[in-house]
Assembly symmetry: D2
Homo-oligomer: 359 residues x 4
């Protein structure tokens, strides 16, 4: 398998299986002279950590980040940053019983058929655990973007099942285990998740990501449009089935006279575009939405086949999220940060003499 | 501007402005020994051509493709294929009046601010005309995929405004200028488009792309998942604001027990996933949906600013589609073909000894 | 065949066969706002042109460059530059007789065996004619580097056969068809080349390239060292068999105390390194040497095999250089310029806040 | 600093400073199903290890490799391989005295000026210690190439100072600490190195690499020629100043009738080309030569400047090789293996239906 890198100038390459010795990544392209320490990364890792709440998987991982290179006396040197998180709490026996089965909705079948071999322990490389290093690399990008331009990249849960969550303010998002911005929906969500746990079932979710203070000029027209690279990065997160920027699918029923964002002396009069015009950031707020499928690992029995092609019933025990979408929030923020960081460096390469980007 | 290439092993690099001398591309990575001639490419170019119907822009371009290299005696040699289409019908004067204005919903503003200069004639590089070479490169990929595995990649209009078009069969799609699969909606669409033309307004659309006979095994886990690369390629098409694979945003309100595709002795019992599991094609039909924003170039007056920052009224004359989504159908097919072709070559690089892919 | 691109941020992709319709390239990554016109490119094309002197191949090509995109009112817009040169004087019949033979020292055999097909007309893609687009892309890079930093990249012939040419000054180099810097060797070279033509044989050469005013800071440690990327670019030129930077192979017999360049208040006291330390330009003059093999296409008969594997005698008529090294001079300059240009943009991406590079 | 990756399909990305916590790399693109364990990698690491002989640096590193991912039950799964070697024996105090000086012949000056900061401990990222991970990644490539095609990649010292070493057989190379193939020169080399140690000086060397059983067809014409990619990979090794393939610089004084390798019914009659024609492997033995500069870290005093630009005398104590070229032998083998591995996968991507490569 290749394809374990993302970004051209801020290039993140990851490795690691769910139940291997460790997960790790190399970040190549970080500029020199940036303040960086473990705490900056650990903060975001803790937000996605299993067991962060009793609504997410109960796997107990401390997920302690180690910085192995690229930082000298708490400053980046410009050399590649090697990061590692050791797997401390894996119980292989949990999975031995499904060793020869293909879990429905999982990558077991495609991995086995493509590679002729798979590490069946906890999904190996296809486990959501793989996102640990995305969050670590994203945390460094977030730090740089914020230091240099005051860019803020934050996400929240905008829907779970049929429960819509209206955005109120960010402190609400940080105050509950659902990353829910709507205080009036917390009890409903609590009920829903508990009943799903009881039923051994799971539910989908919608995640919204907001990027503020993004300077005008990020993104390359044609194939590497900013929104195209964001779609790539976000769709690469496990369980994502749909991506929207700005008005997204609502545009299907909009008129040109409604949709196009008019301009005035104070700038744009609306933001249907979601902050990107012709693939380039317009200086407006960037708004993204992700559709997250329900967790496939559920206790409720289902039909599948084994390696011999025989039909069998399967019920997946072990520790799993009733709503994988919840923990996707910090991951979606991280992927957004990685893409913006990459395009910021690309901008600097090609338009160093134009100062729009310097606010 | 960089970012004018797509694909790693089937690599397409394009150039050309709407009103420049010519549009062109280089395709690097085409295998040797493939039958190829102009007619194969011209067929798809004609499907997207302006003036193909009286419902799309009236610009009259013959769009004659020229093959400059890489083909010897109608067989590919494995050397890069150089393609070119000359611009014959451009009227720069059409655009002189908006030379100093930023058309709302267009890239004028972001290009001007990012690059400090822009070719204002017809949007230059940001014009939908740029998609000509996407279609040409896609036609070659389609040909190869079909020859080698019988892969079929076809698209249609599934919605325009609030008019839903149900799929019936492909011959209907080919028989009308809307690429509409639903014979009962043709009259409604005709009425809608005519009234929009009268009003000088435009409308959004939803495009569906279906890829059949895609072998199991295409796509690389983690960042270069097949669905992630498809999302990138499709979101890079002008005017696309949303992407769905399989059930897309419907998953938000689905239970895990509903969504996960169970398996039996005859294979999968459903296809909610849209033909991709863990980023790898599962052998099922691949289903994609695109949200297309309404054309921003409309006669209806709107507010914008000029280069001096003064607010002015703008009305865009010239020849434009009331629904840019219609002509996006062959472009979406082409981008899907380019991504599948690229991953087919990537598969061959890494799993040459495993024969799943050989049906 | 892939591998038709070079550079990461100043990315040049070429196409075209010796006897195809045209040769062309796309340059992706040129910054906006740079003055550019045909004359700038044509000047270098004329220096490498066949028939430039009666000591190089007699093929008569005017090699007129056409700029198809990326330049608006003689200024680069930042969009990709499409370039093309039409093949006007090709005589396929010249080559029909060797259609089924593998010319010794040529790529005929490896192309045929690797791809199962080849365009045998004049070597197709493996012809030295492929270097036309290298020179065109290099001319643009040279222009930019000179405008921005006063960088000068110039080459000369330092040896042909056993005739050593001492550098005197650049005006001598420009005043003779050998790019020879040594006025005392012109007559000897003239004699040598004439006798080789009489014998139907050819000779090797050594080319030296000098880059002046290169700012400190270009090149990335480890794999993409400046000297490593230069070695790649120069070794990719047809007929090159060896590359040296600075003292090159002389270092084998040097002591550390001799080789290492000491520093003083006025900078470096010597330049054994050739202007690169640890893969990064040091601000000193960059010196490179190339070993060019003798032309393989000679009239003198030789032994080879045909497609049936039968041993046959071959004698290659047609129009060929007795010393292919001569015309390699402008090509070597161009490749050096492309690499420096690429690393200049890479520098700007990663160290935009450090001003060493601004002299 | 970017540029810490090499290879397109067999992609190696490294991190780590001389005196950091650890050195590591990620190998992306290894095919699944290959037997792999620590011992295979450790064997080559031991060959380059400091303290391997009393003629190389006395630093005592056990250099124990750890495989963190990508291998399951001693078989590669196709997922990325994470490797790590911890730094156990680093003595930072050794270097504190040169903290503010720029060691002549080193990257201290260029790093400091480019990045504005450097890890001065033992050269940080620019230390020869960086090559540990090259050797590890090369060992895996060697294993695969040998398993699949019986390819053998081996190197030796062909010259140190003015002492020429004639090749006799590989068992001699393995039997002495100089990787010298010539039993008659061992005593001379021993004397030379001892006297250099006494003088506190160092000497250059020439390394030869031989690749046998390389199938025809590896390498991509034009920019990614096999020899161009080899030149890049080998020139990227610290201290390399020159590269030759086949006859190298001898071609300058050769006639075409001498150089071109004629063919007969039994194949090529000679191998002046060094096994590559038109950038593609010809099926002959591949021969490469490297010029290695003398170690710059010597006890003998030299002149340099400090951070304030003042001229000072410097004498470098600590543990250093009198001839860095010796330990470059396994590194050069490794880089050759990485390039051949990469092109083997690229071949499989583009010419899967042609069986020349299967001997």
């Amino acid at each position: 398998m290749a394809g374990n890198s993302i970004g051209q100038l801020y290039r993140v390459t990851t490795f690691g299986e769910s139940h291997g010795t460790a997960l790790g990544c190399i970040i190549d392209g970080i500029p020199p002279g940036i303040p960086l320490n473990k705490a900056i990364i650990q903060h975001d890792l803790d937000r996605r950590r299993p067991g962060f709440s009793n609504f997410t998987t109960q796997r107990k991982e401390s997920d302690q980040i180690k910085i192995l290179s690229g930082v000298f006396e708490d400053i980046t040197t410009g050399t590649p940053i090697g990061l590692i998180v050791e797997n401390t709490d894996y119980r292989s026996q949990d999975y031995s019983d499904i060793k020869d089965l293909f879990r429905p909705g999982h990558a077991d079948y495609t991995y086995e058929k493509k590679y002729g071999i798979r590490d069946y322990r906890g999904g190996g490389r296809s486990s959501a655990r793989e996102t640990v290093m995305r969050v670590a690399a994203g945390a460094i990008a977030k730090k740089y973007l914020n230091l240099k331009y005051g860019i803020l990249i934050r996400g929240y849960i905008s829907q779970i099942g049929n429960i819509n969550c209206q955005f109120t303010n960010w402190s609400v998002v940080d105050s509950n285990p659902f990353f829910c911005p709507d205080p009036n929906k917390l009890e409903l969500l609590d009920k829903l998740i508990r009943s799903l746990k009881k039923d051994g079932d799971s539910i989908g979710a919608k995640v919204t990501v907001i990027a503020e203070n993004v300077p005008l000029g990020l993104g390359e027209p044609v194939f590497d449009k900013l929104d195209a690279d964001l779609a790539h990065a976000l769709m690469s997160i496990n369980a994502v089935k749909g991506i929207e920027i700005g008005d997204g699918f609502e545009v299907v029923n909009q008129l040109g006279s409604q949709h196009r964002d008019e301009m005035g002396i104070n700038g744009f009069k609306s933001n249907h575009s979601g902050g990107v015009l012709g693939g380039i950031s317009s200086g407006q707020i960037i708004t993204l939405k992700l559709a997250m499928k329900p967790t496939s690992s559920i206790i409720k029995p289902g039909k599948t086949i084994n390696k011999d092609g025989k039909e069998v019933q399967i019920t997946i025990t072990g520790r799993h999220d009733p709503c994988v979408g919840i923990r996707a929030v910090p991951v979606a923020e991280a992927m957004t940060a990685i893409v913006l960081m990459d395009h910021l460096l690309r901008y600097q390469a090609q338009c160093p003499d134009i100062n729009i980007i310097k606010k």
